[in-house]
Symmetry: C2
């Protein structure tokens, strides 16, 4: 038998699991305190729902589940579809299906938490997971700009709750970006391609973006105009002078309100696109000078749910990069420290009941494990220290207090 996990999936050791649980618990606590409600959706989805969804590149990465029994035999014999289900590649598709299925029983607006596993058949390579956790909040059924405010304030609070402080929220609006690009002279039917190029600004720089746009046949004047705005780091005021659309006043309301609420840095970023095709208006992400790339991202997707229920329902979501942050916290050595302090109570078999009674008393304040005394006590104590235990106690000692592990001689 193979003892390693399948490619792209991980076994998490206790200290790693402790970081993941700490992270999830802190995030959930913050989300719940802000009135968001957790739901669970299945990891397995109907294959047609997945195949027909708005998943872009992810559609090529779906793990498919084979039919079983007679249906499989029939499909094999007749050359039909071999699969009837697949593993979800994100949490947004299951959420939209869930909302369509359950909306009569849900609060409106529906403020929802999902933190759960998703699957993508990525080409195996270092750090590229095939099974990973996403952590999303969404507000469904609220067209007001206050939905964005709630998501931004709550996500910022969650990040601070897990110990991240030095970050900025960047915001843009797809409507604004489109109006500006058209004003600069880009053709309307080229905008998707222009946005794809713009999205690479971080990776290939302004020069690379301009070359790519020119290769795609965009007008030189438009490319130069956009390049100038990007180079000068045009703020909302500069953009406002060029375009007149509702997105401007929405962005002003959001940025002013966040400033008034205090505690969160927010800035307009004209170059912010976000990859997903389904965003219709605001897009935002969280960046930190301590790490490369975004640690959270989201936006408004007012037309996705309509695909299920035939009528558009406004929706906006914000997703925290769970795996990213878990890796950062694990590197910082949080594992052994997360959770309550741990105490080992060491006993001989005949003393089990006494040892258990001692442990029970201590369990109000710490996690207490019972360990039968091995021949080599010193070796056990070294192991306990290595694993992050705070203290130990040997049943039969005269004193009643445990001894700190760093402190023995």
């Amino acid at each position: 038998m193979k003892i390693t996990p399948v490619k792209g999936a991980s076994d998490y050791l206790p200290n790693q699991a402790r970081v993941r649980d700490f992270l999830q618990e802190k995030i959930l606590e913050t989300y719940r305190a802000a009135g968001f409600e957790r739901i669970y959706t299945p990891i397995i989805e109907d294959i047609e729902n997945l195949d027909k969804s708005d998943g872009g590149e992810n559609l090529a990465l779906i793990f498919k589940i084979m039919k079983r029994g007679e249906k499989l035999e029939k499909a094999l014999a007749e050359g039909g579809e071999l699969c009837d289900m697949g593993l979800r590649y994100d949490l947004t598709l299951p959420l939209t299906r869930y909302y369509a299925n359950n909306r009569a029983s849900l609060m409106s607006p529906f403020k929802v938490i999902q933190t759960d596993r998703v699957y993508r058949a990525e080409r195996p390579q270092k750090g590229r997971l095939r099974e990973f956790v996403q952590c999303d909040i969404d507000i469904i059924g609220d067209e007001s700009r206050t939905a964005e405010l709630e998501l931004i304030l709550t996500t910022a609070k969650a990040l601070r709750a897990v110990g991240l402080d030095n970050f900025t929220v960047k915001i843009n609006d797809r409507r604004l970006l489109r109006a500006l690009l058209i004003g600069l002279g880009f053709a309307e039917d080229s905008l998707d391609g222009v946005c794809v190029a713009l999205d690479k600004l971080d990776k290939i720089g302004a020069g690379g973006v301009a070359s790519e746009m020119l290769e795609k046949g965009c007008p030189e004047a438009a490319v130069r105009g956009l390049g100038a705005l990007l180079t000068e780091g045009a703020g909302l005021e500069a953009v406002k002078a060029r375009v007149d659309c509702e997105a401007v006043s929405d962005l002003e309301f959001i940025m002013d309100s966040i400033a008034e609420a205090g505690g969160v840095d927010i800035e307009f970023d004209l170059s912010l696109v976000r990859g997903q095709g389904y965003y219709t208006a605001t897009v935002f992400e969280v960046v930190s000078s301590d790490f490369r790339g975004a640690i959270a991202g989201g936006g408004r997707y007012d037309r996705l749910i309509g695909k299920f229920i035939g009528e558009d329902v406004p929706a906006v979501g914000f997703s925290i990069g769970f795996e990213r942050i878990a890796a950062i916290l694990t590197e910082k050595g949080l594992g052994a420290a997360a959770g309550r302090p741990r105490l080992a109570v060491i006993y001989e078999e005949k003393d089990f009941v006494r040892a258990n009674a001692y442990a029970e008393e201590r369990r109000a304040d710490c996690d207490v494990t019972l360990i039968e005394r091995p021949k080599k006590l010193g070796k056990l104590l070294n192991r306990l220290e290595e694993q992050g235990f705070a203290a130990f106690y040997v049943v039969g000692w005269e004193e009643t207090e445990p001894k700190p592990l760093g402190d023995r001689s």
Copy 2:
């Protein structure tokens, strides 16, 4: 698109999710306090590991994941194996693989918690889930009978923590049962079949069990002897008079220690078998006069890990019936009550920042959601009450305290 979840999988509404989170959190809290450490293993496993495992009937219920890309094309062209992975059907197989893979980094004995999803392609029918949560604790690398004591005391504590009180732990030992059956005159190679019949005692009664054994060709005297012991509800003393094996003193030690520790009812049950083929010694389950069937079960499986690493490692586990208990608690209406009390703060858009500041102050004590004031306030308040909110507050009120929802007129 299909808006319902796939067959045998569930969408959990917020109140249902609240019960599941409450249940899981209480259980985890108890397990961790007792020194057990949570781990995570992947939901997807190598298909050969699953197919060759000790899963009995579950092997026919594995959801299989298709190969992808060139490997799939090759398999289709050459008539080879179409799948390379599958969804796990329990948590014990992944745990044994995990232990084999990581044992150098783990505490010994390794006290481990797993509470996570498993998958079985059961024939769809009411109440039969294909995606469900199992909740296990195991102790690996401890041959001592104190491992059983820890599992029993900790599981009982977890059940009490979620509000179940009226239960009894039943215990037996496969070694004892085998020795007794051989002493009664059953052939050694018939014991597996005899145990299968005995396991049905609850369903088909002593008469049914006897008929099945006779049909299988067991000696009449042996069947009659066993029947007499079952009818008289033979205790450990009565059995002890007939067999002489180590299991007797182990059971006595366990039962005496549990009695001495206090607070948990434990009784010997000669008819207790537990289905899994891999148990080698003690088996136990928890029953309650309030519900039919077991609410937890487990036992010692000293030879399962050896299949991965070529050397036997003692192991013993106890599993709580998570879905069973979640259903019981949901029926009792725990959903709306679980978690912190919920407060709704109702505001108009211009007052968002003020509303948010009021909400922040209250979030120390309760979960607070912001809701923009709709045209029909009364309808909203009814909805809030329905959903289990405790109170509401309208920004702009003269008073500063929220108003209980049950209390308006």
